[in-house]
């Protein structure tokens, strides 16, 4: 009797978990799914009330987005600047995160392993860039960029994006470096490694999962940045975030094309996260159990 009861309770428990998991997944996936559906609808289906789930799918939004065919989008047009915006996003985000990692690794290592005056304060100053409102930086940057010719350039944006990605990189890498036992480092030193050797031959290989997490998350932050490029970029350097709002026109909003743009913009992040998912989970929980 009792074994039956416990089996039943186990069954109902796993059923409850399954239902819970389903709700959670539905909750997470729904917005994405909704945008995907919108991107496949024609304008009248998009504004239909109640929302329709049975419609003839159309690729017009994607065609308009990539090739500039306006037949599906009404009279007011959107130039197909989107491919260029996409390339801009790739250049700027990859550039920004590469620079951040390059500069961030030595900085994080120093903050993790060396002792020097004002170490804590320095680390805090790096962090503080993250919680100062962007507007504090953007007006001076706007002025300086106009003067020195960095305005509307990829390099200028890569530099400005350091405000987003560098503090984050330093702090995340620092915590990963600190996880690695000092003994390993000392052993390497005894075997004749310089501090640079310790970093490149021991610390970095050991913290590869952490590095992967840093790169992916930093890339996402950069990819999603909106305010800096809005103020500092121009027509030739806008990333997809600023590009996506171009679908709000004066007397209409091209929801379908905006949704298509969102789907395409989300793809790199989606693919990257799937590729390195196991690293991310490992990295995020690294050191959770000692």
């Amino acid at each position: 009797m009792s074994t039956q009861a416990s089996a039943r309770s186990r069954l109902s428990r796993s059923a409850a978990i399954a239902v819970g998991a389903f709700i959670l997944v539905a909750w997470t996936v729904f917005p994405f799914l909704w945008i995907l559906l919108t991107s496949l609808k024609s304008p009248t289906d998009i504004v239909a009330v109640p929302p329709t789930f049975t419609f003839t799918p159309t690729l017009n939004n994607y065609i308009a987005l990539l090739f500039g065919d306006q037949s599906g989008g009404g009279v007011s047009t959107t130039r197909p600047d989107f491919p260029r915006f996409f390339v801009n996003s790739v250049i700027i985000s990859v550039g920004a995160i590469a620079l951040s990692v390059l500069v961030g690794i030595p900085a994080a290592y120093a903050l993790a392993r060396f002792d020097f005056p004002l170490k804590g304060a320095l680390a805090f100053i790096f962090m503080s860039f993250r919680f100062v409102p962007f507007i504090v930086f953007v007006v001076p940057l706007y002025l300086i960029y106009q003067r020195v010719g960095l305005h509307n350039t990829h390099l200028g944006l890569i530099l400005a994006y350091q405000l987003i990605s560098l503090p984050f990189t330093i702090w995340l890498l620092r915590s990963f470096f600190m996880e690695i036992p000092v003994e390993i480092q000392e052993a390497a030193a005894i075997d004749g490694c310089s501090w640079l050797g310790v970093l490149t031959r021991v610390i970095l290989p050991l913290s590869l999962p952490g590095l992967a997490v840093t790169v992916i998350l930093g890339f996402m932050f950069c990819w999603n940045a909106f305010n800096y490029p809005l103020m500092l970029a121009g027509r030739n350097t806008f990333p997809v975030t600023v590009g996506a709002i171009q679908f709000i026109s004066y007397e209409q909003v091209l929801w379908g094309q905006m949704a298509a743009a969102t789907i395409i913009s989300a793809l790199p992040q989606l693919i990257l996260s799937l590729m390195v998912q196991k690293y991310i989970v490992r990295g995020l929980t690294m050191g959770a159990v000692k």
């Binding site: 024609s42 304008p43 009248t44 504004v47 239909a48 009330v49 500039g68 306006q70 599906g72 009404g74 009279v75 007011s76 047009t77 130039r79 197909p80 007006v139 706007y142 002025l143 106009q146 305005h151 809005l230 103020m231 121009g234 027509r235 030739n236 600023v242 709002i245 171009q246 709000i248 026109s249 004066y250 007397e251 209409q252 909003v253």
Partner: protein, 464 residues
Amino acid sequence: MRLHRRSFMGLMLAMSTTPRAFAQSDDSLAYFRRAKINWRQAEGQPLALGMNKHPFTESLLPLIPEFKELTGINLDYLILPENEYFTRLAADLSQKQGEFSVIMTGPMRNWQYVTPGWIDELDPFLKDPKLTDPAWYKLDDFIPGLLSANRWSGKIGAGVGEGPLYSIPVMAEGYILHYRKDIFDQYNIKVPTTIDEMAEAARLVKKHAGIAGIVARGTPNVAALATGYISGLKSYTGGEWSEIDSNMRANLHDPQAVKYTETYIDMIRESGPPNWANLQWYDAMESFAAGQAGMLGDADIFAATFEDPKRSKVAGKVGYALIPGGSGGKTIAGLWTWALGINKAAKNKTAAWLFIQWATSQRTLLRATLNYRNLNPTRTSVTTDPRVKEMIGSWGGGSYVETTKKNFETARIAWVPQPERTRLRDIRARAHHAIYFKRMSAADALKKASADLDRVLKDAGIRP
């Protein structure tokens, strides 16, 4: 190499989207060369435009090669949607960088830019025979009310329509009543001419047709109160009332304003959509286009969406009428014009003016309306062009053309010129939400709003 590819791409696009523009190119150049000015006096100079995302702007893009051939000026441009555009423009103007030489602005915006000296007066350009051929350009072809809306004496609290011209209008919108003619006819509902009749019509539509009787913008942001509501209130008071009186005192709690506001908000609470307080302009427009509402008092140009069967379920079913007036029956609606102006910090103003003259010429504006539905036209010659008439003449069984024409005869800028307009509207929007959610009576809420506004005006030094 990169530049080459980009211009090639632009050319391909231009050709694929508007072959007409190209076919007319030679013809077009001949037209512009009839102007007795030297179009090439700024040859080789660069010129940057800061533009709002708008059908007018888009109509210019395929014509850029033509402008280059005519003037030898090298155009660059930045296009952003309204909110982002004004953020970016404010940075440029306030830092006096001259990033954009030609800007897209309009009457209420000009008030903010004139006082600190950020934009140029255009009269000197118009009067200089080297820069403008008046006989060819025909300034008097512009609809008088629309042109004068872009003049301001610079005196806070007055002087709209007087003094220097700061920008030249390229499109105009007035506020009218869009209503579902099919439903009104079916249930014998009278097209309203007063706010009380409007409330009654909204009730009847909701009762019989089972959809919202009226839809309106409701978010507490800048645009929410600028259109149908203020036009109705102005009409209700016969144009006597303004939100700030001649002594620069807030007048929101004026008894007539209270009465109108109460009726208006009660109507929306009773017969409007349940989520009014969250509706953006496009939500209101799209819900009307989807057949979810009986009336909408808002921008006349929304008709372009309503009458397009690809984007609307109510094409051919909409009627257009003036915003219901007061007991006198006279409508005094608000209006807005997008217009081109010159940044005072611009380095190459001759090129800037040549561009404006080209972009606001009869031919360019006509092409904007014909090829890109840039509505409503600001030049009489465009409004009366047979091809334009053919395009919009059938809307609402002819009621669109008739209504907008009549509306622009009496429409005027609904606001008192002063630089604190944004805060004024925040204050008022808060009051409206308080009334809507029954947190306060209309009289109390507007009295408090008046007091708040007085404080703002005083803090800003507008009133001693």
